[in-house]
Symmetry: C2
Subunit: 192 residues, 2 copies
């Protein structure tokens, strides 16, 4: 991806995190990214194209900042725990990403354009968590009785819900992290 | 509450569920409720007052439609399970309420006005679920080792997350209900 495109997508995420998807005007984005509106239309076609690429950018960026220090091969359980906990961090890229992701999800309730793409991104995340739980079962750090796909879908849903409660001021970040750690213990009992 | 006020609040919930909080214009609400804009301002003061009363209305209505058939005294565990599962139903009042609740939560990320009220409503819901889990522990249908306040906060957060995934088309209603039932089993083990 060209640097200019990346700069525009970073700026789009910031604008959405500040004012919401429905507050995003191409003129404001152009000012934020310090480019012309013509360049935005040149790269993304129309507002819908821009939204699609922004959702893709947000999903890819989340994969990078949630990259745990534990390798998935050596300790899949710790890798999963770190990956999910890294979604609840008070650092600008994560806060921006989480607000923008929540906004795109809630906008999709009203505007169906991004529905399929959002479902696919969600599904990829759930699939990755499912694979890690299965690997942890093989490695003997998660009990055999756990239904990996169910636990993965619940844990990722819980991360979204905790993130929304934190960002909307209904719970603190520390409490959200503590609750997620408790969920990992309840959903992923040790063998035996 | 006067019938006219209730009609306006029902209409406000419908409009929010259809177009979002940010799509709510007092003129459109007046048309939907078949009253004058002056009457809306007379009853609610300003847009902020209307939003506060609408959030209150939504919270109270949720208490009614999630009223389980099992009495909390006779079977607190089943009462809790029914209460949470009743949040995931494809009936107009629940869908409207869930969309409006999700919208108010996500709007609060950007606009702090309803933050305290939303936190209080959330807290009341969590408290009620906590009490039910404690009663179930006393009745011997939930294990002593469960931390009631944590399980309650997680289960209600999960309901919000599942509701958002369902309403945004990332999961089906049946799957959301199945996942919630699994969470109840994982979070609330029987006494061992």
């Amino acid at each position: 991806m060209s640097d200019r495109r990346t700069l525009i997508l970073q700026a789009a995420t910031r604008v959405i995190a500040r004012r919401g998807v429905r507050g995003l005007r191409v003129e404001e984005l152009a000012a934020e990214a310090e480019v012309s509106t013509a360049l935005i239309y040149y790269h993304f076609g129309d507002r819908a194209g821009l939204m699609r690429r922004t959702l893709e950018f947000i999903s890819e960026r989340a994969e990078r900042y949630t990259e745990p220090s534990a390798a998935p091969q050596s300790d899949p359980r710790v890798h999963l725990e770190q990956m999910l906990l890294l979604e609840l961090q008070d650092v600008p890229a994560v806060v921006e990403n989480s607000i923008a992701w929540g906004e795109l999800r809630s906008t999709t309730v009203f505007e169906p354009e991004l529905r399929d793409q959002l479902r696919d991104s969600t599904y990829e995340w759930v699939e990755y968590a499912t694979d890690l739980i299965r690997q942890a079962q093989e490695a003997g750090t998660v009990g055999e009785e756990v239904i990996a796909a169910d636990a993965a879908e619940r844990l990722t849903t819980l991360v979204e819900g905790l993130s929304e409660r934190w960002l909307s001021g209904s719970t603190s970040l520390n409490r959200a992290r503590e609750l997620l750690q408790g969920a990992l213990a309840a959903e992923l009992p040790l063998p035996g």
